[in-house]
Subunit: 128 residues, 4 copies
DNA sequence: GTGGTCTAGACCACT
DNA sequence: GTGGTCTAGACCACG
């Protein structure tokens, strides 16, 4: 079914970890448009967290346009509305790339090492 | 002297923005080993934030081994101790790369676009 | 016959969308006093929703005095009983107008733009 | 200070009523860019609701870009970024106008009556 | 002091 | 059964 696990004692809030898991699964194709997500209660039991926490994750994903929810029915992967706003998106992604590269630098990682990691990761997600 | 500016109303805590600015300047070579950082009071006035906030940033940077503070003298950029612990660092950076690539995906960015951004950013920081 | 369509994944509950469609058709004259509405089963099949949902919509419309249902016969558009209670109605409509105008304001719409939209819409419904 | 009151037993969720009050006050100019909103706890005490409910309202207003919040500092009325997306906004407002006019029709209100109400309300908000 | 996250548990609305 | 709202109360992060 789903094989999601939380990182315990992470600084990352639980609801964000959940968002991240789902976004990842969509990005790598394990979840597709129209697929039904587990119900809030089911997932809460599975991950052993409070249903409100799952609800929070789903609701944030919904406002990002990544899933849709309907009372009495459930939550579903949204049709991909690539509502790409070039300028904003570029600036968000540039900022994130900046951070990770600076972090790698200060962790003593070499240029070729981070490039290798980047290539590896991008293959996972942007499969041909 | 220094030309740092805070992003107003960013979700990023102020002390982290300050850490980020300093790490960036070190990474691109604007700050080098042994350089003296502005005093807490000076920087607090300049950025119009509480001195405690600067102190927090400096203390975290010291904890990361990026700067050293000497009682009564000030804070200095540390000699680059590449305290690179391969496994941990790789996992941190992989996690961060994953996040940014997934985010780019969901923002509708194409593979070549994010690759271009990555190349651009890595040139800034890892100059030959 | 009828050409009603639901907005998929709308935040608006399905039964309310159905009520809205019917009220709209009455208001613009596509449905008149005495006209028979589609049966619950028929409409449920057509819209691909649970018959209970249609039943709920019809029952609410009946409560509002807009349709009447006769056992075993079906649902019909009621004779227009203008059960207008000045004070209550005014307060409901004022509240709704307030909301839409405030919303328009925060969406950056100009005064003349919303006035134009209002005039357009009111022509649709209150034809001379 | 602030003179907000909740409607008891309203179908409108409390957090939405709170959002509405704040949007209204901004629209009519009682609150201006940069003004500080009451703290979550203060407002919760004042309105006799749970702090989480206020937090929810503030957080939704933030994602609509109407206010900004900072941990440890408070919530402030945002600079008006009229990030007006013509098509989307027009469609939202048209939908809302449609509903209110249909509702007025079914409540037996005359054309001139609703026009009068509209004019009255729009004067409140879009003052010259 | 501020807002942010999370839990436990209740009740409601919708299909 | 589904998701949505709300409360009470705890603990953390930030300035």
């Amino acid at each position: 079914m789903f094989i999601w696990k939380l990182v315990e004692h992470s600084a990352e809030p639980i609801y964000r970890q959940i968002m991240q898991m789902i976004k990842y699964d969509i990005a790598v194709g394990r979840l597709s448009t129209g697929d039904r997500l587990p119900s809030i209660r089911t997932l809460a039991l599975h991950l052993k967290v409070n249903p409100n926490t799952i609800a929070r994750a789903y609701s944030e994903l919904e406002r990002e346009g990544i899933i849709v929810t309907r009372q009495g029915s459930g939550a579903y992967v949204a049709r991909v509305i690539s509502r790409f706003k070039t300028r904003e998106s570029r600036s968000i992604i540039k900022e994130m790339l900046s951070k990770v590269i600076i972090e790698a630098y200060h962790l003593g990682m070499r240029k070729d090492e981070i490039i290798a990691l980047f290539k590896e990761k991008i293959q996972d997600i942007y499969r041909q």
